[in-house]
Symmetry: C2
């Protein structure tokens, strides 16, 4: 995806009158550089900067230990490395930037991601000649509409995540722990070609309704609910697919809630098309859920791509007009703390030229998943 993205980012920089734009957040570095610098998120002091100049020229500034890998994988023209122990990354970045833009240039950087300390050091090192402006909007604009390659990457990982739910739950029995389920899911995902499992939500029993609980050694018992949400990646793009199960046969009340959520999902899918209002989709969902007697959380969905939550949100407070190429994860969700019940069904769709394309495979899930009570 690298070269297309560089072209797109350069074009937006030129439209905004910038001499260069710089990615520094993990997601935007991955987006612009075309690969994930391995230790960027693991060792926060190893700053990475991707500079795309207007006209021509691009450069990735990385820690010396990852210089060779970056030379092999980066989509950018040049790689400059700093010595982790003797040079400050910001100094090397500032000097590189100065060599790539006019003396009184205007450069977009991520003010919501560069640290206060790094920003101060950068301004001092640049000596005031170069004007720094916020580039958040540029990256949002670039990333909110996905390229065909990005959509296919998201489709691939969404389908892997969808299948992993069903495979792992089919093998689950009462007496298993949440970690047993997590282990099966991850093994399935990696065996099927996923690269990372960033996080798994595995909430059973009184943890099933909480947002985002990680798997623990809690033993799962008959009659309990299990809520799963899979955040995995392939080719650096993420899945966000959630399903719900009950251990044993669902009660009719549980089956009805699930059926209600699937109807709300269908309605939401049907409303997704170019020109549609995210507020209208949220409000339709909200009133539908309230008719079922439940209170919705503040959002039904969100963009998905290199990050778990991207724009646009489908929420109570904002409104975005959908455009072809926007990718959404939609997640009808009911939390019932008093019952120890949590229900969630989450799928990923892309806005097409005339409607919606559902990227997850939703044909097999008309019934609430039942974990068998018998022996494996």
């Amino acid at each position: 995806m690298g070269k297309d993205v560089v072209t797109r980012v350069r074009q937006l920089a030129e439209e905004m009158g910038l001499d260069a734009v710089v990615a520094m957040s993990t997601a935007n570095v991955t987006y612009v550089g075309g690969f994930e610098v391995p230790s960027q998120s693991l060792v926060p002091s190893r700053l990475v900067m991707c500079i795309v100049a207007a006209g021509s020229g691009s450069c990735q500034v990385v820690v010396n230990i990852e210089e060779s890998l970056t030379r092999t994988e980066s989509a950018l023209d040049e790689v400059v490395a700093y010595n982790e122990f003797t040079e400050h990354p910001v100094d090397v970045f500032a000097d590189t930037l100065r060599s790539m833009v006019p003396k009184k240039g205007r450069v977009g950087i991520e003010l919501a991601h560069i640290s206060a300390e790094a920003y101060e050091r950068l301004r001092t090192r640049l000596g005031g000649a170069i004007e720094l402006v916020d580039a958040s909007e540029l990256f949002t604009k670039a990333r909110i509409v996905k390229t065909a390659a990005e959509i296919e990457a998201i489709r691939t990982v969404a389908r892997l995540a969808h299948a992993a739910h069903y495979e792992a739950l089919a093998e689950t029995r009462p007496g298993d722990t949440e970690l047993d389920i997590a282990s099966r899911i991850i093994s399935n995902l990696l065996g099927a070609g996923a690269e990372h499992v960033l996080r798994l939500v595995v909430g059973s029993g009184d943890r099933s309704w909480h947002a985002n609980p990680a798997a623990t050694s809690r033993v799962i018992e008959a009659g309990e609910m299990i809520r799963l949400d899979i955040f995995a990646s392939k080719d650096t793009y993420l899945s966000d697919v959630a399903r719900t199960a009950v251990v044993g046969t669902p009660t009719s009340e549980q089956a009805d809630i699930w059926k209600g959520l699937l109807e709300l999902r269908r309605t939401a899918f049907d409303m997704v098309k170019p020109g549609a209002s995210t507020a209208a989709i949220y409000n339709r969902y909200r009133s539908g859920l309230e008719e079922l007697g439940f209170s919705p959380i503040n959002f039904l969905g969100h963009g998905l791509g290199l990050e778990l939550h991207e724009l646009p949100y489908v929420d109570r407070y904002s409104d975005t007009e959908l455009e072809p190429g926007m990718v959404l994860s939609l997640e009808p969700y009911v939390m019932l703390p008093d019952r120890n019940w949590g229900f969630q069904v989450e799928d990923t769709v892309v806005v097409t030229e005339d409607g919606v394309d559902v990227l997850t495979d939703v044909h097999s899930d008309e019934e609430l998943i039942s974990v068998p009570l018998g022996a494996r």
Copy 2:
């Protein structure tokens, strides 16, 4: 670990004349709050702040969707939630902070982690009465010496990671992909009780010498080298254990290099004790490796805990006097790009009152690991 840590952080804040100290980075939020806020690293806009006031009082500020989980798990006295869509986290944080410290208070924050944008907003919202100073040194000082509970957490995950290398490589055969190995390692780790696998380094053949390559679908062939490094977590503490294998029988040259690395490892272990100089340990390693005919990278090791690289470094440029409770990952590493060979052996140790305690189980690895050529 929560309450002990809060006491320690509070004491350091008081010693530094602060009215409160605030954790904002993922690692320090996890350290002070005593648990990992699930979406902090996945959704960067969901800022989390842990405020520890001098004297008494502590509060965790989180996104509303994770309020219930935080109330269940946080070690801090209070939880304050902001509405993700209608409130800026910094505003809620600033107002909470103001209610916890004197009008002209002095507060430590992480200037290397708060964004330039958030810092500007915080200063505006606080109106200049509260003095903000950098708290990096406080957190470094707190975390560089581990508590007994932290050491046991690191020992547990180090042993899981160590075992996972041998188990996964015993099942590996020529024709497997790097992803096959990754899948086995992760399955073993989670089955054994690890919580997350943050990243795996799986580099085979011409990728074996690079720093930090992720697993790919590259097929492994007879005669190639495989270098693995496992970054997994349990109870939020990390492993960093690396091993090397050759597919088939090692050549005598390969066996000799491995033996040389193990001798350098032994020498390093023997030098670790209270009062020892990290520079002396690095220099002994460097000269030993040079005697073998190889060039060392700039560091032999680093602290390990909630983050992959913590202080102290054992490197070419700095010098730290070791103290009991410091945890080090030591990683003799030889990169031979011209041969497509990468050798690494990495283990974790803790400085004790009178020497060293090796946390990984190093008894079983006297020979370079050989991946069998036959059928599984």
